[in-house]
Amino acid sequence: MTPFEIGLIALAAMFVTVLAGLFVPIALMVCSFVGVWAIKGSPLLASKLMALAANDAISSYFFGVVPLFVLMGFIVAEAGLGRDAFDVANAMFRRLRGGLGVGTVGANAIFAAITGISIASAAVFTKIAVPQMIRHGYTPRFAVGVVAGSSVLGMMIPPSLLLILYGILTEQSIGDLFIAGIGPGLLLAVFFAAGIVLMAIFTPGFVGRPEGAPEALPPRVLLAKGLPIASLIVLVLGGIYGGLFTPVEAGAVGAIGALLIGFALRRLTLAGLWRVLVETGLVTATVCFLIIAAQMYSRMLALSGVPAGLGAWAAGADLGFWGLMILYVLIVIALGMILDSSSIMLILVPLMLPVVVPMGVDLVWFGIVTVLAVEIGLLTPPFGISVYVIKATLDDPTITLADIFKGAAPFALIMLAVLALVIVFPVIAIGLVPGR
């Protein structure tokens, strides 16, 4: 067998074992080990490649800050800043039809500017927004759908862990990626809000019959609730673009800022901090272990020549730019049904880079397209991670997984529309990036 054939078989074996339920990192490791063994004919060489990847794949300053971004997200949630964002957003949208739904989207957009992970948003707003919406007459299905849909803003509006990951994989500037995420993120929020108002007017059976707007907040209270969040946003984003620290360091600064605010407001306890630290550790370990495995796998693929072969095939197959993009988005969304976002990116991006680079594709724009497509997968069954987080946080047996998926479906469709817009009009993403 040629290395190319071995590579293709290893690729197929990876998909089959992952679908069968083998742990994703283990599946990647096994396929890389056997693949390199078959290509090079030496088990010793194969095991050396694995050990080297385990020792140095994540041993860099960039990966070092992954736990800090996760920690920042969880501390912000623990300090109750999510509830503040919700109250402020509701005060702004209280007169709109479906105002609480729009408020949830707005709160998520604000919250997204101080966290970089969707699961933090999903967990926080399940606790805050869902009971409130149900109390005001929204159907449970719609309430959880709004939370699931708007939680994806956490990954789109900077800072964003997925964009950092993509930046590391493709050696693009993380600062540029963050700027490029702003346009599509805001567009997504506006589309979500418009969709909610339209659904509240035209499909009351799905939305429910919202009654009684939430109380208006006096300006003093509004200020007290808005100020801590606003100062954290200014600290994190201002610090990055003011040149005080790098996007990589922003996780640590943001975490410290959230910690100080939490303690100053007397909302964060030492026990709470410890719980958050343990949770951060588990998330970090899971994500980084996956990254290590994905590195082994992409080194194996590189040895087999599959990515280069795929690039040559795509260039020769006359798919054209549009055919390729549509195919890519379809594959990403399909994978999103069975895998979590970081796995998909780590598996696909190394495979796609040699294909798109010769076509002169803007890699920053390609990153935004990738993250958007990947995030649609967060809302699609059977493996929508946001939906599982909501289900776990909800702890209410009357709302089933199927309810949440159905509630989230309109939002997945809206995301698809925004994705199409970003593909057709790249300026939405890269218009703000300097030098493009």
């Binding site: 742990f23 283990i26 994540i58 860099s60």
Partner: protein, 180 residues
């Protein structure tokens, strides 16, 4: 025999949790370290020496210290549609498949641990370090050690999954089969 097995499983979980605590403390230290570096650079014009090196080293340690607990807590990424369907319709087959998966996992993690061993001994004997002489240096062997310890515990936790599935669960009539 059985109490001894239960006790050793408890010990295994205890050690796993201990590593988890160590990793969490490291994350906190990392946050403080980067924060002090940023503050020092901007407020006093004096960056802290060796922060990038320490961050680079500790992320590897954090991951390998916590990954056994991630498995124990059921957090390791997988697509569980098929296993859940099997557990419902063909529980016997499901258990064999899960056991096969655990054995594969043990084998592949063990390959990494055993190949890291010579990397560890070399780092220890030669006193390998990162950083620049005279400015800041840190030895690399502690990180290699965490890979060995974390990898070993991960292998043992996979073995514990097999034991719990076949030995511990079916033998205790009080909480019967299929209970978790």
């Amino acid at each position: 025999m059985r109490p001894a097995l239960a006790a050793s499983l408890r010990l295994l979980d205890g050690i796993t949790q201990g590593l988890n605590v160590l990793g969490s403390v490291l994350i906190l230290a990392l946050m403080v370290l980067v924060g002090v570096d940023v503050a020092g650079r901007n407020l006093m014009g004096a960056p802290v020496a060796g922060v990038p090196e320490l961050v680079t080293l500790s992320i590897v340690a954090i991951v390998f210290l916590q990954i056994p607990q991630a498995l124990r807590a059921g957090r390791l990424t997988r697509s569980d549609a098929l296993p859940q369907w099997l557990a419902r319709t063909r529980p016997g087959l499901g258990r064999w498949l899960e056991t096969l998966f655990d054995l594969i996992s043990m084998a592949v993690v063990w390959v990494i641990v055993s190949t890291t061993w010579p990397i560890f001994t070399r780092a220890w004997e030669r006193g390998e370090f990162i950083g620049a002489m005279g400015d800041f240096t840190a030895p690399t062997w502690p990180v290699k050690l965490t890979i060995l310890v974390g990898g070993t515990m991960l292998t043992l936790q996979f073995a514990a999954r097999i034991l719990r599935r076949w030995v511990v669960l079916p033998a205790s009539p009080s909480d019967g089969e299929g209970a978790h």
